[in-house]
């Protein structure tokens, strides 16, 4: 067998230890750093409050003599201008005693214009059963803007938590319906097809890959614009799991990506489902050339990429904003959205694709870093045999 001059960067345990420590530390920092002081808000809801303790994420509030005043819980959601966090207090009889907004980035007048104060004053004194009714009512009145959705959702989350913990009452949170349609079926078919094609003859395999990518380019790319992004992966890492019912597609894609690397040693998502990989291959087909890059650059560029991905993820985790890790130009191509960085990356990548084989996938894509990590995990499980595919 001819030995390739191109080296696969060696992974060593020490490096991994460093990376994992850095990730854990930054995630921990991001989660704890901006934790606002809860005490003033508890006092606002329960003026007689003297002390509180935390049990299972619910604040138990006591008066001076240690008597139980009530409970309070956090609810959070994404508002118009950023995260929105509020505290809902429930007294010992199970009535909402008040709410306090811990953190929001809505401007004061905007805040008042959409009538949240009215909602807050109305909600005080409601029992658990009434919350559901008011939810509908308020959403109807305010016209279901992003902020009012967020605030109502966070109130209900908080109330449901106290009700479940302390009163054993289950408040039905209005779960979104399962998103299961053409797109989800298409992803499953494409994934299954990709796996099945591995066991077919080589020409069929090749033809299937072209077909699969053409389909993915249209459906996953231009139609739904939902390739896996570093933002989504970092969100998962930081523990912000999106609601599965409304985001089944992204779970399917991520699980498909992870499982195929672990089972087959390479990502079938990348080769068969990623619309950005697809368009690079199609452009390369038009260009008709594959320039061989000098070996030193082939060895250098993946390491640079890994470093960039590492820095992006650590920063995003540390400041608890997964959106900051985003540098891929996917949205610029599929939805025409993006900053100047994304637009210029798009320009460079698409033009390079004319003469190179999938430059983004090989040298820039964070998914490749993820694939490598997963390959190493697979390697440790199956032994050196697992490295064959790489």
């Amino acid at each position: 067998m001819k030995k390739s001059l191109r080296q696969r960067p060696k992974s060593n345990l020490l490096l991994y230890l460093f990376v994992i420590t850095a990730l854990v530390l930054s995630a921990w920092y991001g989660r704890t750093r901006s934790g606002p002081d809860i005490w003033p808000h508890l006092q606002k809801i329960f003026p007689e409050a003297a002390s509180f303790s935390v049990s299972d994420g619910v604040f138990v509030v006591q008066d001076e003599r240690g008597g139980l005043l009530g409970w309070a819980a956090n609810g959070s959601a994404n508002g118009y201008a950023g995260p929105l966090q509020l505290l809902v207090g429930i007294d010992s009889t199970g009535t909402v005693s008040g709410t306090s907004v811990i953190e929001h980035r809505e401007t004061p007048v905007f805040w008042r214009m959409v009538r949240f104060p009215v909602f807050f004053s109305e909600i005080a004194g409601s029992s658990f059963e009434e919350i559901n009714y008011r939810y509908e009512e308020v959403v109807g009145v305010t016209g279901a803007t992003r902020s009012s959705d967020a605030i109502v959702a966070s109130v209900r989350k908080a109330v449901a938590r106290v009700a479940g913990e302390q009163f054993d009452v289950t408040i039905p949170l209005p779960l979104p319906p399962w998103e299961f349609g053409f797109f989800e079926i298409a992803i499953m078919v494409l994934l299954a097809g990709a796996v099945a094609s591995l066991y077919l003859r080589r020409p069929v395999q090749k033809a299937w890959r072209w077909a699969s990518q053409a389909f993915a380019l249209i459906v996953v790319g231009f139609w739904e614009n939902s390739p896996i992004t570093l933002t989504k992966l970092t969100g998962f890492l930081a523990g912000y799991f999106p609601e599965i019912r409304a985001n089944l597609a992204i779970y399917l894609l991520v699980v498909g990506f992870v499982l195929t690397v672990l089972l087959f040693g390479r990502s079938l998502y990348c080769s068969h489902l990623c619309p950005f990989g697809a368009i690079q291959r199609f452009i390369n087909l038009i260009g008709g050339k594959r320039i061989r890059l000098p070996v030193w650059s082939l060895n250098l560029m993946p390491r640079m990429r890994d470093l960039i991905v590492f820095c992006a993820v650590v920063t995003a985790l540390a400041i608890a904003q997964p959106g900051l890790a985003h540098y891929e130009p996917f949205a610029a191509l599929f939805a025409l959205k993006g900053g100047m960085l994304q637009w210029f990356l798009l320009l460079i990548v698409l033009l390079l694709s004319l003469v190179l084989d999938r430059p983004w996938c090989h040298y820039m894509c964070p998914m490749r870093t993820g694939e490598r990590v997963l390959q190493d995990i697979r390697g440790t499980i199956t032994g050196p045999k697992g490295e064959q595919h790489a």
Partner: protein, 108 residues
């Protein structure tokens, strides 16, 4: 009224376009590249698209919309370049390398 908005400007543009088409014909003849009608059509469509892209960039800058000029320039420019490369390869379809020499040889 600016010269570039005048009828005379479009007359000159048309003249340049004609020269370009004649040059392409000469170039194709010299290389014995057959030029059926579909090649001409795609070539002309492509030239118009490139013209549109350049005019779009200019207009956006002129209107004071640099973001539109840059993003539009990148989007339409990438499409123009990639389709241009594709067209370049398509144009050569039917070309028999060495046919030129062969033709001259028989004539002599």
């Amino acid at each position: 009224m600016s010269f570039f908005m005048s009828g005379f400007f479009w007359f000159l543009e048309g003249a340049l376009f004609c020269i370009f088409i004649l040059a392409v014909r000469a170039w194709a003849e010299d290389r014995s590249i057959p030029m059926p009608y579909w090649k001409w059509i795609s070539l002309i469509v492509w030239v118009f698209f490139v013209g549109f892209t350049l005019a779009f960039i200019g207009t956006s800058f002129g209107e004071g919309e640099p973001a539109a000029a840059i993003r539009g320039g990148i989007l339409f420019g990438v499409i123009a370049i990639i389709s241009g490369v594709g067209l370049w390869r398509l144009l050569k379809i039917g070309n028999i390398p060495g046919e030129e020499e062969f033709a001259t040889a028989t004539e002599e």
